[in-house]
């Protein structure tokens, strides 16, 4: 038996919608719609309690789309509807998260579509792009960081007083951490910014024996509880620092040894599977390549690889980027000829297994050749080459036997200077004009599981 209170009549901007209580409750208890029909606001003996009619002073066109989303879990926008306005309405009703998760699905390299191409604001060359947990991103160029939310709305641009940005990362979608070069006065280092308000909220200090040291923060990695950054200071503060996310205080500092550079590392990656931190010091930041896994709890190097003191033969000359595929026990590297190689991390100082059919010497004739960049997502590997991104899938957790399964290409923007994965999206940053592309798996029935 259907109770009379189970039918809800909504008068939105003069248009009547009739729906069921359960559909509205799909919106979640912390949404405006649920609160409106909830116990707290159920009035005795008033007209609404008999007719169950509620008036909402909003645009019915957008409400119709959103009600459909609550009913079906799918998002269908009629042509000509402003996406931005839809987001605003969703925020009003408190169901913006539903819209976001309906928009795109789980990241799968073989199903990606380019859904957005954003033109940069800065004149200079962009150096890095990083993804946020909710699908937003930030782009660094020179002393500037531009932040975009998941709807690719430009947020506040951070200008860092003419010190160069080395790396950036999201603590959460509202907080971004930026690593910069150090300058004579107490500026530089690593700091936390509020994305919405552009405010500096915390500066991460390197502190020894009660003394604050000034240093350059290089690469950055973030896990659930800590932040890691490679540091090089003026007074031998070379190594990897680790800060607590809640207190913002330095918890420990791992100094580099005499023959193993850590402070100049240009890539840090947290490995949740093995609970370790990958630190890669690569050309041109160091003369030779050094890749190691650090166990931060016992402060030692659990695994390491280097090409120092090895005869330079052919391909193996210079490693330009490295990424760890944690579950495959493999570190994937790429050299200046865009050739992929794999290092087994189950034993120390193994050689690199290069992919043969990846022919060297195909360097593009363009003057500004960008070297390949790597990114990893689960067992999928993304490698940029010239103006395209190649997707590789690894069978049976054996990275060395990976096969190329897709090629992502957009004609605009020229060579690719950086790629990043975040919030189930792939971000591709181009050399020219600071254009970046957003690739995502189209939203489909997979989004229905949030109901």
């Amino acid at each position: 038996m259907r109770m009379p209170g189970d039918i809800i009549r909504l008068n939105v901007g003069g248009k009547l919608f009739v729906t069921s209580r359960t559909t509205i409750e799909n919106a979640g208890s912390d949404s405006m719609l649920s609160a409106m029909i909830g116990e707290n606001w159920r009035r005795d003996c008033s007209a609404a309690s008999i007719t169950n009619e509620f008036f909402i002073d909003r645009n019915p066109a957008y409400f119709s789309v959103l009600l459909d989303l609550l009913r079906t879990g799918e998002l269908h926008m009629p042509a000509g509807m402003s996406e931005k306005a839809l987001y605003r309405e969703a925020l009003y009703y408190g169901i913006l998260d539903h819209v976001r998760s309906a928009k795109w699905g789980m990241l799968d390299g073989n199903m990606l579509q380019c859904t957005n191409t954003v033109r940069g604001h800065a004149t200079g060359d962009a150096t890095a792009i990083r993804g946020a947990q909710d699908g937003g991103c930030c782009v660094a160029h020179g002393p500037m960081v531009h932040v975009y939310d998941w709807s690719m709305e430009a947020q506040i641009a951070l200008t860092l007083d003419y010190v160069n940005v080395n790396d950036a990362g999201f603590l959460n979608p509202e907080r971004v951490v930026i690593c910069t070069c150090e300058r004579g006065d107490k500026t530089g280092g690593m700091a936390l910014f509020n994305v919405k308000r552009g405010r500096l909220e915390h500066k991460y200090e390197v502190c020894h024996g009660g003394q604050y040291k000034n240093c350059t923060a290089g690469a950055l990695a973030i896990n659930d509880v800590s932040l890691f950054a490679s540091c090089r200071g003026r007074s031998n503060e070379y190594g990897i620092g680790c800060w607590d996310q809640v207190t913002g205080k330095l918890t420990h500092f791992l100094y580099e040894g005499p023959s193993w550079p850590l402070g100049v590392a240009c890539k840090l990656q947290w490995l949740p599977h093995s609970n370790m931190l990958m630190v890669a010091a690569l050309y041109p930041h160091s003369d030779d390549s050094f890749i190691s896994f650090l166990d931060m709890r016992s402060n030692n190097i659990a695994w390491s690889w280097t090409d120092a003191e090895k005869p330079a033969i052919g391909d193996e000359k210079v490693v330009m980027d490295a990424v760890a595929m944690d579950e495959c026990s493999t570190v994937c590297v790429v050299n200046q000829f865009d050739n992929l190689g794999f290092i087994d991390t189950r034993s120390n100082n193994q050689g690199v297994r290069w992919r043969d059919h990846y022919q060297p010497g195909k360097i593009s004739e363009a003057e500004e050749h960008s070297y390949s960049k790597l990114a990893v997502w689960g067992s999928q590997l993304f490698c940029s080459k010239n103006d395209s991104v190649y997707v590789f899938c690894t069978p049976d957790l054996d990275a060395a036997r990976c096969v190329q399964t897709a090629k992502l290409k957009k004609s605009e923007g020229g060579d690719i200077s950086d790629i990043a994965v975040g919030g189930e999206r792939l971000f591709v940053l181009h050399n020219e004009e600071n254009v970046f592309d957003v690739w995502e798996t189209p939203g489909s029935f997979s989004t229905a599981n949030c109901f």
Partner: protein, 734 residues
């Protein structure tokens, strides 16, 4: 340039929105503020959620988030201050109810306010690092109400008073208590702990300190424990009804500390009702209570165990050393078994089979059983008694239980080889006189000994059984031959052939057998040696028995069952009427001691005196004359004339057995030394002693002095040598 001119050329910043009414924020906030008031005044039915939400939304949208948030803080504070004063004004017992009522109202209002300000919570709050509305409401309630000085002290006093009254037996409103403590927990676990739990524990500590003092003065141990247990359960129940579950361990720790830990020693040692008293009276319930309560306190069980052990050792020591109780071995062992049963029951029922208590029990028994060097003998005698008669008509399972109990005592013995010695003697007697009740029981015990001590321990005992069996077969064969060859009336002979070494060695004194018997014996000897070559037979006349048919003066006929010695003596009286002691001794060559015993049994036991002694007296002297008693009468046809049997060993016999045991140990110790040295080659004195002790402890505890002597003997015989540099180190010589 002048300022006025500058003003004229001011460039207006480009604005998307048209300037809205400057009073807009003020006005909107006023609507919201009034709505909040209505909500607190239970007048919400006239409010439109949609309108309020839209207003709050617009304020945030138009960057008046700050104003909205600050206004909210102000309004909430104002209302909470009002609430605080109404709560404060509540009289006596109504205070808590008033507090609870206001808390519920505040919560309800807070829910609605949060609904209205949801948009602010979602956008403004995270961006400006503010506290979300709901949490803000709780924090303000904490600061303006719960921690408002006049309320804070009164609240704590009221709560503690209620708990005190409940402890004193009054019925209180638990639901209200539960709501108030729940409120404190909702405000954060630190509020609950600081504002309530800590003082609550202190009050409990004071309460129980006083109460336990009072109880211990006027109650006996059992009652005290009962009360402590009840208090403990009450507190646990209290926690389950209206406190945070995490408080349980804390409050029970307080009760444990005040009621048990600080009076532990006094309770256990309490006169006439303490632990010893409970053990003596088998008060399982009290003991169980003591166990479960003391288990909660560190060192509690240790104390109980120690007192139990020392009591057990003391009573055990008395039991095994009291000369009165040593008179009857069977009763002695039965007492040990009873003691063991008693404590086993205590440990299973009251101490829930605690391993450490079982170990304490075992070590205590081991301690005092070995205090008496005669324990092995007595245990063997107990078995003897049981197997001779005690187990007659008892079911097989009960036999097993008795044997198992004996084995348990056997395990406590350190001198297992002494037991073996006695057991062998007693078994031999049982077998030879066919006195054993049950062959199965005998064998079952042998199997038990075998599993306990290994094959070596029982191989000779088993040999004895084999001998008995083969003897039976041999006799069948012999009887067949004899009855075929010669049907004349000669004495029937029954021989048991015993293997030397299996059986306890006896002084093989030979006596002169009567000619009739000797003839049959010779026949058997020839028969036996003809079937088994290379063997030697020796007659053990001291162990045999004989059935004689005798006719007395008035023609009354009797069958006399006597020992071989007695038979030899009586046979003389077929020809003569009287003999002197000297004549008998010369004629039979029976050893003096045995002869005296035999004559005693023939002449001095009333009702069985087939001989008369002159002069009449109890003891046999060398000048006595023995006469055939013509006038012997008995109402039985069969008369059994037992030799005055050796029950317990006499002092000299005991010494002899001891000596034999010591002799037997020598080769065992030597063998152990040689075994150890053979594998180790070089070892110092202390290590040899400890290893030998370890190897032999399943049989007996060797004396270090004896081990030293054996080592010296082995050095003399060149099995070992002393190291030239270190005299304490020995070397094995292959």
């Amino acid at each position: 340039m002048s300022t006025s001119k500058k003003k004229a050329f001011r460039i207006e910043p480009f604005k998307h929105k048209v300037e809205i009414d400057p009073k807009y924020a003020e006005r909107t906030w006023k609507v919201l503020d009034e709505a909040i008031c209505e909500i607190y005044n239970h007048n919400a039915s006239g409010l439109s959620f949609e309108e309020l939400y839209r207003n709050a939304y617009n304020m945030v949208l138009h960057k008046y988030g700050d104003k909205l948030y600050m206004g909210l803080v102000d309004t909430l504070s104002r209302h909470l201050k009002n609430m605080a004063s109404t709560i404060e004004a509540a009289q006596g017992g109504l205070f808590l109810e008033e507090l609870n009522r206001n808390w519920l109202e505040h919560n309800k209002a807070l829910q609605m306010i949060r609904d209205i300000l949801m948009y602010m919570d979602r956008t403004y709050v995270p961006n400006y690092n503010k506290t979300p509305v709901h949490e803000l409401g709780l924090n303000l309630w904490r600061d303006y109400v719960v921690r408002y000085p006049k309320i804070k002290a009164r609240l704590l006093d009221t709560l503690l008073d209620l708990v005190y009254r409940e402890r004193s037996g009054e019925v209180i409103n638990r639901g209200l208590m539960r709501n108030i403590t729940k409120m404190l927990m909702d405000l954060g676990i630190d509020v609950y702990q600081e504002d309530f739990e800590k003082p609550f524990l202190e009050a409990a500590s004071g309460f129980y300190k006083l109460e336990s003092q009072e109880f211990i003065e006027c109650c006996d141990c059992g009652d005290y424990l009962k009360k402590a247990e009840r208090r403990l359960n009450e507190e646990i129940e209290r926690v389950s009804h209206y406190l945070d579950p995490k408080s349980e361990t804390k409050i029970t720790a307080v009760v444990e500390r005040e009621m048990i830990a600080s009076h532990m020693n006094r309770l256990v040692e309490m006169e006439n009702s303490g632990l010893v008293h409970m053990l003596i009276d088998d008060r399982y319930e009290d003991l169980g209570r003591m166990y479960s309560l003391f288990k909660r306190v560190s060192g509690g069980l240790g104390l109980v165990r120690d007192v139990m052990t020392s009591h057990l050792r003391e009573t055990g020591r008395q039991l095994v050393t009291d000369p009165e109780k040593l008179k009857d071995p069977v009763e002695f062992v039965q007492r040990l078994l009873d003691e063991k049963d008693k404590y086993d029951k205590i440990i299973t029922t009251a101490f829930i089979n605690d391993k450490t208590f079982q170990n304490a029990l075992n070590s205590s028994f081991e301690y005092f059983i070995n205090l008496n060097p005669r324990s092995p003998e007595f245990i063997s005698l107990f078995v003897d008694d049981k197997l001779r008669k005690g187990l007659k008509g008892v079911s097989e399972e009960d036999v097993e239980t008795v044997l198992d109990k004996v084995m348990m005592l056997f395990r406590y013995l350190q001198e297992k080889d002494v037991f073996e010695k006695y057991y062998k003697q007693h078994l031999a007697k049982r077998l030879l006189s066919s006195k054993s009740v049950s062959d199965d029981a005998e064998r079952s015990l042998i199997v038990k000994l075998k599993t306990e001590c290994g094959y070596q321990f029982t191989s000779k005992l088993e040999g004895m059984f084999t001998d008995m069996k083969t003897s039976k077969d041999t006799m069948q064969g012999f009887n067949a031959v004899v009855s075929n060859a010669d049907s004349s009336e000669s004495p029937t002979l029954s021989v048991q052939v015993l293997t030397t070494g299996y059986w306890p060695t006896q002084s093989g004194a030979v006596c002169n057998l009567p000619a009739e018997i000797l003839a049959v014996c010779e026949k058997f000897k020839t028969y036996y040696l003809s079937t088994h070559t290379g063997r030697r037979l020796t007659w053990q006349t001291n162990m045999g028995t004989a059935d004689l048919k005798a006719t007395f003066g008035k023609g009354q006929k009797h069958e006399l069952n006597v020992s071989t010695y007695n038979m030899c003596i009586l046979m003389f009286f077929n020809n003569v009427n009287s003999m002197t002691y000297k004549e008998i001794e010369q004629a039979t060559e029976i050893p003096a001691l045995d002869l005296k015993r035999s004559l005693q049994s023939l002449a001095c036991v009333k009702g069985k005196n087939v001989l008369r002694k002159e002069p009449m007296s109890k003891d046999i002297s060398e000048d006595d004359v023995f006469v055939f008693n013509d006038k012997f009468t008995s109402k039985f046809y069969k008369v059994k004339i037992g030799t005055v049997a050796a029950q317990k060993e006499t002092e000299p016999e005991k010494q002899e057995t001891r000596q034999k045991v010591e002799e037997d140990r020598k080769p065992q110790i030597e063998a152990a030394i040689v075994r150890i040295m053979k594998s180790r080659r070089v070892l110092d004195h202390n290590n040899i002693v400890s290893e030998v002790t370890k190897q032999l402890q399943s049989r007996f505890l060797p004396n270090p002095a004896v081990i030293k002597k054996r080592i010296e003997s082995l050095i003399e015989r060149e099995f070992l040598e002393r190291d030239k540099n270190d005299r304490k180190v020995y070397r094995y010589l292959a």
